[in-house]
Structure formats: structure tokens, C-alpha cells
Symmetry: C2
DNA sequence: CCTCAATATGATAATCGTTCTCGGATTGAA
DNA sequence: TTCAATCCGAGAACGATTATCATATTGAGG
């Protein structure tokens, strides 16, 4: 056989484009948003976007964020930040700073920590006014 | 009209059963797991379980948790805790203590904080061994 | 205790984000 | 240049959650 080590990762313009688009986004974005933006320049498959995102998450380059609307959002791990989420209207916004700046590398025996994500729940100003 | 204030919440055995089942669970559970357990005692609709969970989250009694497998899990807000999530196999486990014990009630102007959730990402012992 | 308008339930269909399939295109070590 | 390992793209499949809507229940007022 030619190559025998396996599990090598190849370089494709699709993966480079995904990473570049995410690095230009101000906050976490969904796979579909990413797909729409990338398609304006060059045709690319949605499945390819999903596969690239998964690979980057496994590599520790991207971090997923869950804001509770059923969509996973992705952002650069290097620009880590957390989010506020309104339990009433679902609106969400980025927090300026990380709430857990110093995370112990080992929280449980044998578990290797690579990142984290915090969602703070509550009610936004508008929904507080509407409920009052 | 008889009643005119509106938005009153009624008491049903379904909602009581949902809350009781969750309080007996050691960690966060999904709507489907809950539905399966409750059905062993008395017939109950899955949609009803989902509605009860949403209502309790809005009331601040339950907190949702996202471990990245596409399913939302629910647990008592009074027994708040965070989770470790393996990026390779998806396994997750509860952390003993909360990583953000004192959360500022106001992180952003006008936003009322009611709770939070932390997901710590990394690789479990088994997957580290498999990847090494 | 009755009434009955407001709510809740449950069976099922519909939604929709994500994953899977598979034939064809790319990549890159040798 | 070769070619096996990988990756891509289009579309089907999947699965968790939500929407429908006819029927049942709740509970304040009388
Ligand atoms: Mn963000
Ligand atoms: Mn838990
Ligand atoms: Zn809101
Ligand atoms: Zn693992």
C-alpha cells in the first residue's frame, strides 16, 4: 500500500473557506448561515459545511454554542466568549468576557479539557416589560 | 366574562407527574426518557411532556442542558450542576460542583438573569486511549 | 355543588436541523 | 504521473421538537 498511517487530513478550498468565513463573523453562526454566505462566492454543499465544522471542532479550532433554538452555532475557539439567552423570546447576545476564565485542565479523573461554553438564561429587557 | 385576568396556570396530574419523575432522576433527562418512564404508570402524551417541560423552564423550576447530541435535557434548577462532554464519542457526565457559583444578577443592562448552564468540552479517558 | 370559558391533553402530521448514502472528483505521498 | 485514501455534492433519510385540532379537564364565579 502507498500510505499506511491513515486518518490524515487533506487541505481543500472548502475547509479553508469555512474557516475564513467564520473568522470574519462577529459572533457564532449556524451551518446554514455559513452555507448561504459561502454560496454567494462559490458553489458548496451544505453537507460539506457540516463536515468541515465537525472536523474543526474535533481539532479544537472551533467551539460549538447552544442557544436553545435547536441550531448549533460555531465560533473560533481563539475568540471564545459566552452568551445571554432569553427564555421568553429566544433572543441571544454575546457576553464581552468569559465567565470561567480559568478552567481547571482536569475536572474529572482522566478527562482532558479542551474548552467550554456558558449559556446564561434569563429575560431580556423587552420581555420583562411585556410580562410586567 | 367569567375570568378576565388570563394566563392562569392550571394543575394537572400530568404536570405533577413530570415534576416528580424529574426530581427522582439523578441527572438531566430527555423528554423521551421522561415519557417512557411516566407511561409505565399511566398513559400520557409526548406532546404533553414537552409542554410541561417548557412551562417549568419558563417558571424557573427546571433548567435545560445541551450536551450536543441534539436532545435537550432537563433537571431541577434547585439541583443545578454542569456537565463534561466528550467531543469524540459524545459521552457526558455531571460535574460535582457548579463552575460559576456566583453569577452576577446583571451581566448586561436590562437583562434579568435566572440561571445558567456550563458545558465543558474535551476527551474522555476512553477516547484519549483510542486516539493515542 | 353546577356552569362554562379558558386551558390542557393526546394522536398525529408537519417541521426542520442534521446526518447518511453513494457515485464521482480531489488530494498528495510515493 | 499514479492511485488509494479522502473528500465532495445532491438528495434521501432521520429524529427531536412543534403545530394541529377535536375532545377532555380545570376552577372561578354563581
Ligand atoms: Mn458568539
Ligand atoms: Mn445533569
Ligand atoms: Zn426576550
Ligand atoms: Zn469519549
Amino acid at each position: 500500500m502507498r500510505g499506511h498511517v491513515g486518518a490524515r487530513r487533506r487541505n481543500t478550498w472548502q475547509r479553508a473557506a469555512v474557516l475564513q468565513a467564520i473568522s470574519q463573523a462577529p459572533c457564532h453562526i449556524t451551518a446554514e448561515e455559513l452555507h448561504d454566505r459561502l454560496r454567494r462566492t462559490r458553489p458548496i454543499g451544505l453537507a460539506t459545511v457540516y463536515r468541515a465544522l465537525d472536523a474543526f471542532v474535533r481539532d479544537g479550532v472551533l467551539e460549538p454554542a447552544h442557544v436553545g433554538d435547536g441550531k448549533v452555532r460555531y465560533g473560533l475557539a481563539a475568540r471564545h466568549h459566552d452568551h445571554l439567552v432569553c427564555l421568553h423570546c429566544g433572543a441571544w447576545e454575546a457576553l464581552k468576557a468569559c465567565l470561567v476564565p480559568r478552567l481547571p485542565r482536569r475536572l474529572a479523573p482522566g478527562f482532558k479539557v479542551t474548552g467550554h461554553q456558558v449559556e446564561v438564561y434569563g429575560y431580556c429587557a423587552r420581555c420583562q416589560a411585556a410580562t410586567a
